[in-house]
Symmetry: C2
Subunit: 208 residues, 2 copies
DNA sequence: CTTGTTTATTACCATACATCAATTTTTTAG
DNA sequence: CTAAAAAATTGATGTATGGTAATAAACAAG
């Protein structure tokens, strides 16, 4: 099934190809040449394949990942063996187990690739260094986290107040580009319903 | 019922009583005397009463609130008239509609007082000014938001993966000091179940 | 203390979604 | 293109939680 990041299909750094740059990562930040150079060094661009696992439960979380292309997800497997998807990440999103990343605790989650992807990774230490050397970046991330926070808030509300059908509709409306990339069972595990229920929800909606 | 903040029971600033200080708000921050003075000015300490409403849906969100004592909550009322509680805040917590606060959009939520409380409020403009004048405070809030974020993440997971009973047990274990302050229907609206179901859950647990 | 009001409990029935199992459709690999 | 595997659908049935209503308990005001 899923193959582990360290053991397979790590195609390697292609940063010298300059397909993507740090400026793609920090859109809107006005770097000086010096700052740009500092930021460049903090990143490593990598290719990953569908099924690759970037993070497993029980590990510390040294990196966060920025997605240039493709689709990744964070998910959790309960004691009963069921999968629950916390987050998907497509182009321009960041992903990792942020709770563990921030607190230096061990992760509860898997992060894996739903499709082949081009991503870059940055370590926590590099991040903190960057905050000091390029103060704009601390603000940049603050704003990112604020938005992220907002999306979590909306989700909590949606989970509390909505039926399976409503949650499904909200998802496809909010994230049409994600739906294209994922299997039904991925989406079901995000919505907190079974694949069977998702199938029935779609069937009902199609009739309308 | 609930009385509006602007219209009633605003006991007024008692900052000259020096019961609480900005140092209580920013625990761990080492202020210079000058910085302390700057920070002091950004705050207004106020007494609020059970039922007072600090924020209503459709309003812009000029303030965030820090709780010195008492209990507040953020909640949402759906089209069907049901209440869903997003968050409670007791001593040392911050509360507002952060999504709207950050994005300068109108709130979807009410914030009201579950009990009489002593709080202080700070405006978004003051915040941003403070970030500039006391850089430690931007870091302070980043860490706060990181923790907040983590609690939201855990909640999303709990909502996805847990039964009513499990969610209840998680809540009382995580927030024993909150449970003391709130009515059953407050807790039910946070867990996303009915008061009847909460009552049954407790009944079942008592038998064990 | 008494009375009215708010909050919590209990019982009975309804429903959304889960579970299990069989089948069809789509995707993948040779 | 074909065969095997993975994913999605459909049907029959089970279960947790919701809805309604009646009652009881807790709280608040005079």
């Amino acid at each position: 099934m899923a193959t582990f990041f360290n053991s397979v299909s790590l195609v390697g750094s292609i940063s010298d190809m300059k397909k993507y740059t740090v400026q793609d990562v920090f859109k809107g930040v006005n770097f000086s040449l010096l700052e740009l150079e500092i930021a460049e060094k903090a990143f490593e661009e990598i290719l990953v394949k569908k099924g690759d696992v970037l993070l497993t439960p029980g590990q510390f979380v040294p990196y966060q990942y920025f997605v240039f292309s493709g689709c990744l997800r964070t998910y959790f497997i309960s004691e009963t063996g069921k999968e629950y998807t916390l987050q998907f990440a497509i182009k321009d999103w960041w992903i990792t187990d942020y709770t563990a990343f921030f607190t230096n605790e061990k992760s509860m989650f898997y992060v894996d690739c739903v499709t082949d992807a081009v991503i870059c990774k940055i370590s926590k230490e590099s991040m903190e260094q960057l905050y000091k050397e390029v103060p704009q970046i601390e603000s940049f991330f603050r704003v990112k986290m604020e938005r992220f926070f907002g999306s979590y808030q909306k989700r909590i509300l949606s989970d509390l107040a909505s039926s399976a059908e409503e949650k499904y509709l909200r998802f496809v409306k909010s994230y049409p580009d994600i739906e294209k990339n994922i299997k039904n069972y991925h989406l079901a595990s995000y919505l907190g319903i079974t694949t069977e229920s998702l199938s029935r929800v779609r069937h009902e909606l199609a009739k309308k």
